[in-house]
């Protein structure tokens, strides 16, 4: 399963992209200070709004900040928010889904109602308002809110899974042997949930990063923590569009798109592994076979016609 997953081209590309970003998130800051000797709030007054050059690889902002340094610092922020949202979201998903699915009865009904409520509340609106009232939303806040509002779809799937697992032979067998219910949950059921949880994890990473960027772009997030959204926000507020300082606002957006792309690719890979019908490799094989067959048929027909003519 894992081997098949890793053998897919889109999975490899997705993993490489994601891996690079995680790596940058880790080494970005030391790299800036140790190699570039620059921080996000160092101003190069001799280079205001300069395009990429040897000195500033990605150019500078209109106030002389180094774009690359901002991008590196922003990567860390984005990855943290992405992972944070995913962890919080998955925790809610698994907790609510498993509890409801395993305990059943009234607990399940109440949890189901809560799930339904959360499912219908637009998380962005809540995020916006909370961030707005707080006047500042750092990555932890954003992760918590996103994670806290993006779990219902997954929780329902987990619940369905848990309910079916509960009835399955091995769980019954373990129960008769006298294993406690929660031990069964932890040791036997959790591993079965990867199919529900892993695509969700990926989606939450993308959602967290995207929403944090949106918040920062609107100027609601932290105004000092360097992030991709904040870069775009500053760029627009300081007329980078009008002045054509594309190196300022293009790279952060591209990073956002790439990270989103990588999670999408991984999710497509997961879909293919769990559902062979969606396998592109097989589709390609299938089409190739049908094409060659059609060719053979066509040549047979023409040769038959040739014989008739002769």
């Amino acid at each position: 399963m894992l081997k098949r997953f890793l053998s897919l081209g889109k999975v490899q590309v997705g993993l490489v992209i994601l891996g690079v970003f995680v790596l940058v998130a880790i080494i970005g800051e030391p790299f800036s200070t140790l190699v570039l000797h620059l921080g996000p709030y160092d101003y190069d007054h001799s280079a205001l709004g300069q395009p990429p050059s040897a000195r500033h690889l990605l150019g500078t902002t209109s106030t002389g900040q180094d774009v690359l340094v901002w991008l590196l610092y922003g990567t860390r922020n984005s990855i943290l928010v992405g992972l944070g949202s995913a962890v919080v979201g998955i925790a809610c998903t698994v907790l609510v889904g498993l509890t409801g699915g395993f305990i059943g009865g009234w607990t399940d009904r109440v949890l189901n109602a809560v799930t339904l409520i959360f499912q219908n509340v637009p998380s962005f609106a809540v995020l916006f308002i909370v961030a707005g009232f707080l006047g500042n939303a750092n990555w932890i806040m954003v992760s918590l809110i996103i994670g806290f509002f993006e779990w219902p779809g997954g929780a329902r799937a987990v619940r369905a899974q848990a309910m079916s697992l509960r009835g399955r032979d091995f769980a019954t067998a373990l129960r008769t042997v006298g294993e406690s219910r929660w031990r069964i949950v932890l040791s036997e059921v959790l591993p079965h949930l990867s199919g529900v949880v892993s695509p969700m994890f990926l989606r939450l990473i993308a959602a967290g990063i995207g929403q944090q960027a949106a918040i920062a772009f609107l100027g609601i997030g932290s105004a000092t923590d360097p992030s991709w959204g904040l870069m775009i926000s500053y760029a627009t507020n300081q007329n980078a569009l009008f002045n054509g300082l594309w190196w300022w606002f293009v790279p952060p957006g591209l990073c956002l798109a790439l990270i989103g792309l990588s999670t999408t690719m991984l999710n497509f890979g997961l879909d293919e592994v769990s559902n062979p019908t969606l396998s592109t490799k097989r589709m390609r094989l299938m089409n190739a076979f049908l094409k060659s067959q059609a060719r053979v048929r066509a040549s047979q027909k023409t040769s038959a016609r040739g014989e008739v003519a002769a």
């Binding site: 559902n275 299938m286 076979f289 067959q293």
Partner: protein, 388 residues
């Protein structure tokens, strides 16, 4: 043809069963191969299938799951779904008595449309899954009637649909029902009625009674046989239940590991099954008319089509195997009353496998239940996965 009264229909088709002795061929299958295209390579689900189905005849196809029987049935009408493809061989359809045969295997999907349902229709296992859940029952009849009989108006098509439903004992007001509003048995009967909508020459039936309860099974089967007698269509009937086939079929093909291992008249297979596998199946499913005796299953599990043994596919499970079985593939040889592929039966000694003493089956090779995933099951899994 507009509306079909019972009398007319019986008359128009009645010649066929009565002329049965001349046994006019309807479908001639020659060297048919069906492959499943998978990422791990192509899996041959049906290998070199040759058989002839005559007009008005009931051909039974039996075998365990993953023997390729359902794949073969679908391939007869070029109906196998991706990733299964017809990779070799021909399926000659004698569209009309005396006319030149068309090779269905060579036709494109568009060319096939002209023969579908008019000549060959199909009844699949699960009626619930076969009826479009969001279309009323009536529309699912009228669309095919009007497709193949453009002259028929909307009202007429509906009348015809009502007649068809009545033929299987469903009141005509049910035309306006959605499939989920019908009971399981009704759905299955509706599907049978639907298969007869264009008066086909051949109805393919893939375990049409497994999805309903035992009482209903009998009822439906009786109904099928009654209709068949009246309308004279041929049936290719797939099931794992050999005893059922022995009761209804004219001719039976036994499949194992994608190949026909024995084919013959029902009588022959009833009286003296020649292949050890057929014998095993006979013991697993004794005919209802036989006195009660001990049942014995066939030990081991179906072969992995991706990894077939070099010799006879059944050899690892065969109680009567000899040394040659492991190394040499037995050919399907003509014997009196049919054909059989077993080293023990030769044209000179066709019943060689009947008297042979059973050796104790040795260590089962490749029979680890988890390792074995034959193509048919693979396809089944794919479908299951999609449905959820």
């Amino acid at each position: 043809m507009t509306t079909m009264t019972e009398a007319e229909s019986t008359e128009s088709r009645s010649e066929t069963p009565h002329e049965a002795p001349t046994r006019r061929p309807l479908l001639e299958v020659r060297g048919l191969c069906v492959d499943y295209i998978t990422e791990r390579g192509n899996v041959r689900a049906c290998d070199d299938i040759t058989l002839t189905l005559h007009r008005g005849e009931i051909l039974g196809i039996a075998g365990e799951s993953a023997s390729g029987k359902s794949t073969l049935l679908a391939a007869l009408g070029r109906l196998q779904r991706p990733p299964a493809v017809t990779s070799a061989g021909s399926v000659l359809l004698h569209h009309e008595i005396g006319s030149a045969a068309v090779d269905l295997a060579q036709l494109s999907e568009n060319e096939l449309a002209a023969y579908r349902w008019v000549d060959i229709s199909i009844v699949m296992q699960s009626a619930m899954a076969c009826l479009n859940p969001v279309m009323r029952l009536g529309s699912q009849f009228t669309d095919v009637i009007r497709e193949h009989m453009p002259a028929v108006g909307k009202g007429e098509a509906r009348e015809r649909a009502a007649e068809l439903l009545q033929m299987v004992g469903i009141p005509s007001h049910r035309l306006d029902a959605y499939p989920h509003e019908l009971s399981g048995g009704m759905q299955q009967r509706a599907l049978i009625a639907l298969s007869l909508a264009c008066e086909p020459q051949l109805v393919l039936m893939d375990e049409p009674t497994t999805a309903v309860d035992v009482v209903m099974q009998r009822q439906i089967l009786t109904q099928i046989l009654r209709l068949q007698e009246r309308l004279g269509f041929a049936i290719a009937f797939v099931t794992h239940d050999l005893s059922l086939l022995l009761e209804i079929s004219d001719q039976i093909a036994i499949m194992y590991g994608g190949k026909i291992v024995e084919i013959g008249t029902a009588e022959q297979l009833y009286r003296a099954p020649r292949h050890p596998y057929t014998q095993g199946l006979r013991q697993a499913f004794p005919p209802l008319s036989e006195p009660v005796r001990r049942l014995s299953g066939i030990p081991g599990s179906p072969p992995d089509l991706l990894n077939l043994p070099r010799g006879c596919a059944f050899a690892p499970r065969c109680p009567k195997r000899i040394a040659r079985c492991d190394t040499e593939l037995p050919p399907l040889l003509e014997v009196p009353g049919g054909k059989v592929a077993c080293h023990l039966s030769t044209p000179e000694n066709p019943n060689g496998a009947i008297g042979a003493t059973a050796h104790t089956p040795q260590e089962q090779e490749g029979s680890d239940g988890y390792e074995v995933m034959a193509a048919e099951e693979l396809a089944h899994d794919v479908k299951e996965g999609d449905a959820a």
